[in-house]
């Protein structure tokens, strides 16, 4: 299978939107494109399994290498392993559901009809950045796609957002660009310390992984890369863009932010920082663990204080993304697998959560918990999905959140030191706090008597909303009751990363 299609089809979809007239055409084109993307990602999954089961044990499959800038040793090099395939699947899900959720454009925008072209274009273009990022095997290509995904977010939030949207959009853009500036320095540092056979440098991830970068260099540049990507992935204390950005964004953009953008950070930490600089990852792992524990606890406690549903979900994202970084910091195969599972699970779950909140907001025009109540009676579908996703968030067995978190905890427990045990216990303890705020939100907004008489006139989800919510729910449940397929998909990728790390340990 030609991997370029994964990039080309989203790009064509986005370009095709530009030539449409009116909302109807735009959304049909976007929908068709998004469906093709989803099908394509399943084809990719199938192809990947075919290759693996036929005994192909290369670290990366479907590679394609094109010399882009020969004098600077920059290539357009793409390929996938299990981790990338999982992330591409996630992206395809989010793109399709994001398009479905914004079927009528963000409700409060006055000129919705007129600007639909730009809105859908930016949404799909953001998807292009994510797809490209997940398939890149060249640091330049990777960086290109990382930055590609920043500005559409700024415009989406700034133009179609709500609340203090300009502030949030600017904060998000500057913090993410700051992150990518750090990443850039780290990448340049890596580049100039690689030595290929003919005395030149390389950006190629596969080649760098084979080389041994001097430990001093790793120790210098690991923080740049990790913090840089960490800003994308809500690393404490650089998470402050998350709550503002998420809550100001229109529904689809929130879904993209939480479902895809934050995953760019986690994936980058894994693929670039940990994979290419294993020595430094070993040495700094305790710092990562401490920071992610703080993020997990801080995020959970901060959520308790929120009254706005979107803020609740945004802060809980900080907490949940803390688990991703915790898994990466633990540096065992199980924990890394868990981290990737958590990325996928959190992506689906948060997207669904935001979709539900968006649907509720579109109807009731409020997101304040105090003003909501008894929605189960008037919109049973939305409310049911809301409850499912809430239970997923607090880690109910049978749903994806549980699987991912348990895998991370098991992985952390493989370490014998007291430090690891204590941090794991602390992280586990956050689940109790999660239960408090999740159950409170469900109790206040969904259960109980109807908060206002006007609510009784509200209608339940439309077909597009039902389809979006249904797809994401299926995803959550599929991971929850049959986690082995995701585990088998991600396992070899995590293995390859671990091999680099254990080599270091043996060498010592």
């Amino acid at each position: 299978m030609n991997l370029n299609l994964v990039l080309l089809i989203p790009l064509l979809t986005a370009a095709a939107v530009l030539f449409c007239k009116g909302l109807k055409q735009v959304r049909i084109v976007s929908f068709t494109g998004a469906v093709i993307q989803l099908i394509l990602s399943f084809v990719l999954l199938y192809g990947y399994w075919q290759e693996r089961s036929s005994g192909n044990n290369d670290a990366f499959l479907f590679e394609y290498n094109y010399v882009w800038y020969a004098p600077l040793h920059i290539n357009y090099h793409i390929g996938v392993d299990g981790i990338s395939v999982a992330m591409i699947l996630l992206t395809a899900f989010i793109v399709l559901t994001g398009v479905l959720v914004s079927w009528k454009m963000p409700a409060h925008t006055t000129e919705g009809e007129k600007q639909s072209k730009e809105f859908f274009f930016l949404l799909l273009f953001l998807g292009v950045g994510a797809y490209g990022f997940f398939i890149s095997l060249d640091l330049f290509t990777l960086f290109f796609f990382l930055e590609l995904a920043v500005i559409p977010k700024y415009l989406l939030i700034g133009i179609w957002g709500s609340g203090k949207k300009e502030y949030s959009a600017m904060k998000l853009a500057l913090m993410l660009m700051g992150g990518s500036a750090l990443v850039f320095v780290g990448l340049a540092g890596l580049f100039f310390n690689t030595h290929t056979g003919d005395g030149s440098h390389t950006f190629d991830i596969l080649q760098i992984a084979q080389m041994h970068i001097p430990v001093a260099v790793q120790k210098l540049f690991f923080p740049f890369v990790f913090i840089g990507f960490g800003i994308f992935g809500a690393l404490f204390p650089f998470h402050t863009w998350v709550p503002d950005g998420h809550s100001s964004a229109p529904t689809a953009a929130s879904m993209f932010l939480a479902g895809i953008s934050m995953k760019l950070g986690g994936y980058g930490c894994l693929r670039v920082a940990t994979y290419l600089m294993p020595d430094a990852a070993q040495q700094y792992s305790w710092i990562i663990i401490v920071l992610s524990c703080i993020a997990i606890l801080y995020g959970a406690f901060a959520t308790m204080m929120q009254t706005d549903l979107k803020y609740i979900n945004a802060y809980s994202s900080v907490s949940h993304c803390g688990f991703v970084l915790l898994g990466i910091g633990m540096l065992t195969k199980t924990a890394i697998t868990g981290a990737v599972m958590q990325m996928v699970s959190h992506g689906l779950m948060t997207a669904l959560f935001f979709a539900c909140i968006g649907m509720i907001y579109d109807r009731t025009h409020t997101r304040q918990m105090a003003r909501l109540g008894g929605l189960l009676k008037v919109m049973p579908f939305i409310s049911t999905v809301f409850v499912i996703v809430a239970l997923c968030s607090l880690g109910l067995p049978g749903l994806s959140g549980f699987v991912a978190e348990v895998t991370i905890f098991m992985g952390s427990w493989e370490h014998s030191g007291a430090f690891y045990k204590i941090t794991t216990i602390i992280a586990c303890a956050s689940i109790v706090v999660t239960a408090v705020y999740i159950l409170r939100a469900v109790g206040k907004a969904i259960m109980g008597p109807l908060a206002s008489k006007e609510f009784s006139l509200l209608h339940d989800a439309d077909w597009n909303e039902k389809l979006a919510a249904g797809l994401l729910t299926i995803g959550i449940i599929a991971i929850g009751i049959a986690p082995f397929w995701l585990d088998r998909l991600v396992g070899p990728g995590a293995d390859a990363i671990m091999k680099n790390i254990t080599n270091v340990v043996i060498a010592k």
């Binding site: 004098p71 600077l72 796609f145 590609l148 500057l174 700051g178």
Partner: protein, 475 residues
């Protein structure tokens, strides 16, 4: 013999021919229809640009005073392209202007000066070209005769450029005193780094610094940019600056290669100051032209990073960046020029809700600004990336840490610069305004220029061949 002259001086001769055609047009008849005249001139400029690709030869003339090569032809053609785009964009402004042939004669005279400057192989020749290129610029800055602010701008320009030329000439004379030659090749062999030579080199850099407005030699920039007609401002900030930078790179890399250790540190400090202060000033600007002036100052800081690279990558990335800069900066200036010509509004606040009535123009301005800020997929991203990579790549002169320090500062500066570029985006797309600018109708020629600019900005980055071609010429 004649053939040789014709071929080697082709670029210069083409510009001279156009100059004379315009002169005869002016002499021939008192009053002319402006629109056909402008179309005609633009066609001439287009022909000039196309001819820049054909029959490019290499060689020297006039006893090694003048030389040309494929690289120089390319650089000249980049300037040709810039001039053509500016000419297309100033259509709206010139349409009602009485002195069209004069405008173009002055413009082409400066262009001719730049060509001679680029092709010079001798500091004296270089100085001649420089003067030919700067003096008509002052007249151009004052081209809106009834505007007081324009005369002020012209006065500032002529005084500051005369001063900087003086400095430059002083430096050149001291160089001549210590080495006994003005030829680049001989200079490069004679330079030993004695204190007097270094002093003269400092004068030299100061003179150049004035011309491409590096900090601390930037004080004239914002006022001149604000006062001049937009077409002249864009010419100053793109074509004139580009030419000076081309010459600066080639002089440093050829004539002053021996004392690279000296100028590495000098440029390092200047580039950091230029980026940072340029950015900080740009944060507070209210006038669009002043804003673009400071943004172009900080861009020079980035270009200087590439020059510190002292490698083929360094000079290739500078030329590549200037090429991209032509497209992105002229895209931005084009919109400002059009809006200024039609509505006479130039403040950032005037651009609030610009998107409401002018959707296409807003996107053009936005994409150009993204390119200036270095956001993919625009070409500016590639340009900046390569500049920084080239700047970080010098390890043979100073310790490796220093290089990373430079690009770290630069990368953080990119974040600052993003803030003020996004400020414009925010004003256009997000802020409300009671009196937004009405629909601005662009004629054919400005539209063509926008297509060229946006096409360049969006496509150049993906064509790796362009950089490779420049690199092969530089090597």
């Amino acid at each position: 013999m004649w053939n040789e002259y014709l071929q080697l001086m082709k670029a210069e001769l083409m510009v001279t021919i156009i100059l004379f055609i315009l002169l005869f047009l002016k002499l021939g008849k008192k009053e002319r229809e402006t629109v056909p005249l402008l179309h005609f001139i633009n066609i001439l400029l287009l022909l000039n640009f196309i001819s820049g690709f054909l029959y490019n030869a290499e060689g020297t003339l006039f006893g090694d005073m003048f030389h040309t090569s494929k690289l120089l032809s390319l650089e000249k053609n980049i300037l040709n392209l810039g001039t053509l785009i500016i000419s297309l964009q100033s259509f709206q402004w010139l349409k009602t202007h009485k002195h069209i042939p004069e405008f173009y004669m002055l413009l082409l005279a400066t262009l001719l000066g730049m060509f001679f400057m680029l092709s010079s192989n001798n500091l004296l020749m270089f100085y001649l070209g420089l003067e030919l290129s700067t003096i008509p610029l002052a007249a151009l800055a004052n081209f809106d005769l009834d505007k007081k602010i324009s005369s002020e701008a012209a006065m500032k320009l002529i005084i500051s450029s005369a001063f900087s030329s003086g400095l430059l000439l002083f430096g050149i004379s001291m160089l001549y005193g210590t080495t006994g030659t003005l030829n680049y090749h001989e200079l490069s062999q004679q330079l030993s780094g004695s204190p007097l030579q270094i002093l003269s080199f400092v004068m030299f850099v100061a003179g150049f610094g004035f011309k491409f407005s590096a900090i601390p030699f930037h004080l004239w920039t914002a006022d001149v940019y604000e006062g001049s007609p937009v077409a002249v401002t864009s010419y100053l900030s793109v074509v004139s600056k580009g030419a000076i930078l081309f010459v600066f790179v080639s002089v440093l890399y050829q004539a002053f290669q021996n004392i690279a250790g000296v100028w590495y540190n000098l440029l390092f400090i200047i580039s950091v100051i230029t980026m940072t202060i340029g950015n900080l000033f740009a944060l507070r600007q209210q006038n669009m032209k002043r804003f673009l002036a400071f943004s172009s100052i900080s861009q020079v800081g980035f270009i200087l990073i590439g020059i510190t690279g002292q490698s083929p990558e360094g000079s290739a990335s500078v030329i590549y960046f200037v090429l991209i800069y032509v497209f992105s900066n002229l895209g931005a200036f084009g919109v400002v020029s059009l809006v200024s010509a039609v509505t006479a509004r130039e403040n950032i606040d005037d651009y609030k809700s610009f998107y409401k009535n002018n959707r296409a123009l807003s996107w053009i301005l936005a994409i150009s600004l993204f390119s200036l800020a270095g956001i993919p997929p625009t070409a500016g991203f590639f340009g900046k990336f390569f500049l920084l990579l080239a700047g970080a790549g010098t390890s043979h002169i100073s310790g490796e840490q220093v290089n990373y320090l430079l690009i770290t500062v630069a990368a953080l500066n990119m974040v600052i610069s993003l803030y003020y570029y996004l400020r414009i985006i925010r004003a256009m797309f997000m802020d409300g305004n009671d009196h937004p600018i009405d629909k601005v109708k662009a004629s054919l020629l400005p539209n063509i220029s926008f297509i060229i600019c946006i096409g360049g900005v969006l496509l150049i980055g993906f064509a790796g061949g362009i950089y490779e071609y420049i690199y092969s010429l530089v090597k």
